[in-house]
């Protein structure tokens, strides 16, 4: 493998040139004092309360948008503040309209990998099997003009995976990926990461972050309010321990409020969420025992698997207050 630099993106107090105007208020910068460090081989997913903020941040990272102040270093090379060029080592996907419509998916991928030194028959087989393995077999020979924009975007990500670029910026927070495409992205991202490359996704889909990313960054009001591993994010902010489903959920909540005074109870989608309050650890087994000791068996009781979605909602709620 090439001798790749360890620090891929380094940002220090970066402020955007763009401003946002709220009625009756002073114009504010869209991004304020962004500090970030992304290392080689990591898969980052950026989410936030505003798609504009996410999109803009990734554009600055890809060096296609100027920034007003601060310091930004890409692959250990300083990025000039005002000179905007797509660098060779960045594969930027900001739209899915980059695909040729007169080809099918496999033909397109063969076309973009034409420079590869691997034998064409073997390469074609490799790409074809990779598509099938990633769960994209159903579109592997489909004409590009029949694909949805999300499907096109995933094919472009596959093309990026086969490129020599060290950073892949997948900046499509406005796209909604379905349950077939999310695992496909996760698979491709894992392969990219294995090759020592870095992938940065802009998305508002928490599930995509959960499935595909090793790290996440959360933007709120132009600032990064969280930037660390996905695992840490889930454990730290998804405080729901147990989820209880039952017909008499409201009555149960009243009783449990007395039995579990150290816990926070809330109803969401007809399900009772039992969360720990504060930073104290709680034991789901103990909660279950307490419910059953009361002589009452709920229809369904499950230990919360800790999701990015819940963690995200909790974090945003904390900052919104």
């Amino acid at each position: 493998m090439m001798n790749l630099p360890e620090h891929v993106v380094f940002m220090e107090k970066v402020q955007s040139v763009e401003h946002i105007v709220h009625q009756g208020k002073e114009p504010q910068r869209v991004l304020k004092e962004i500090s970030l460090l992304i290392r080689r081989g990591q898969v980052w997913g950026f989410n936030g309360s505003s798609r504009l903020e996410v999109k803009l941040l990734l554009e600055i990272i890809a060096n296609i948008r100027p920034y007003n102040s601060g310091r930004c270093v890409l692959i250990e090379r300083g990025m000039p503040q005002h000179k905007r060029i797509i660098l060779n080592h960045v594969f930027y996907i900001g739209s899915s309209e980059m695909m040729y419509n007169n080809m099918n998916v496999l033909e397109f991928l063969m076309f973009v990998t034409a420079k590869s030194k691997i034998n064409k028959v073997e390469l074609q087989e490799q790409i074809f099997e990779f598509l099938i393995d990633s769960g994209l077999g159903h579109i592997s020979l489909t004409s590009n003009n029949l694909l949805t924009q999300e499907e096109k975007a995933v094919i472009l990500l596959t093309a990026a995976a086969y490129s020599n670029s060290l950073i892949i910026v997948f900046n499509l927070p406005e796209y909604e990926f379905d349950e077939i495409l999310v695992p496909a992205i996760a698979k491709i991202a894992a392969w990219i990461s294995q090759k020592g490359k870095t992938i940065i996704l802009g998305t508002t889909d928490c599930l995509l972050i959960e499935k595909a990313c090793s790290h996440t960054g959360i933007l709120f009001n132009g600032k990064i309010i969280y930037a660390d591993t996905v695992e840490d994010f889930r454990q730290k902010f998804d405080k729901v321990e147990v989820i209880v489903s039952d017909k008499n959920i409201i009555a149960m909540m009243d009783i449990l409020a007395i039995l579990l005074p150290d816990h926070k109870l809330s109803i969401k989608n007809n399900r009772l969420m039992i969360s720990r309050s504060g930073s104290a650890e709680s034991d789901p087994g103990m909660i279950y025992q307490m419910i059953t000791s009361f002589g009452w068996i709920p229809e369904r009781l499950e230990v919360n698997p800790k999701t990015v979605q819940n963690a995200y909602e909790e974090l945003i709620q904390q900052h919104d207050l």
């Binding site: 077999g137 159903h138 592997s140």
Partner: protein, 180 residues
Amino acid sequence: MSSTKYTTPEQIAEMRRELLHEKHKLHKLQGQDLSWKSRLPSGKSMIQLSSWIVFSALVLLLVTSIISINLAKNRGEIPNIWGFQLFSVESGSMEPTLPIGSLIVSRIPKEPGSLTIGDIVTFRTISGIIVTHRIIEVIFNYDGTVAYRTKGDNPKNSPDPELLTEDRVIGLLVAKIPLT
């Protein structure tokens, strides 16, 4: 290209069969290659080898030329490389054939006594000046020696007053390099 939106399992299976077939063909070809082709250097390495030989030859030629020119200059001789000499034309006596400023390549004649009319020769005059003119007449002397009457091509010129003897012939024109 598929006319339906999704690729069917049948299409995938067909594609796999096609790829497998192509791979078999490829392996067959590679097997044949091993029999005789692989023993020869590939086209790319042949080109690299040839380029290297040409480059080395050019460098060698340049180095030997520089050494021989300097040695000849030190000895007060006219420098030559493998019998070829280079002169620059400084007067208009041979215009329009040899314009002022052009370079001429001459070679030392093997038999200076057998030059013919029309040959352009570089020679040393009795006073020691190097001149390039055309032979317009060959004169055979009674003692068996040969002399040449020379003249510049410029119509203004008249034939040179002194006859050229074979011992003063330096070179016979081979080519001209018009730099102006």
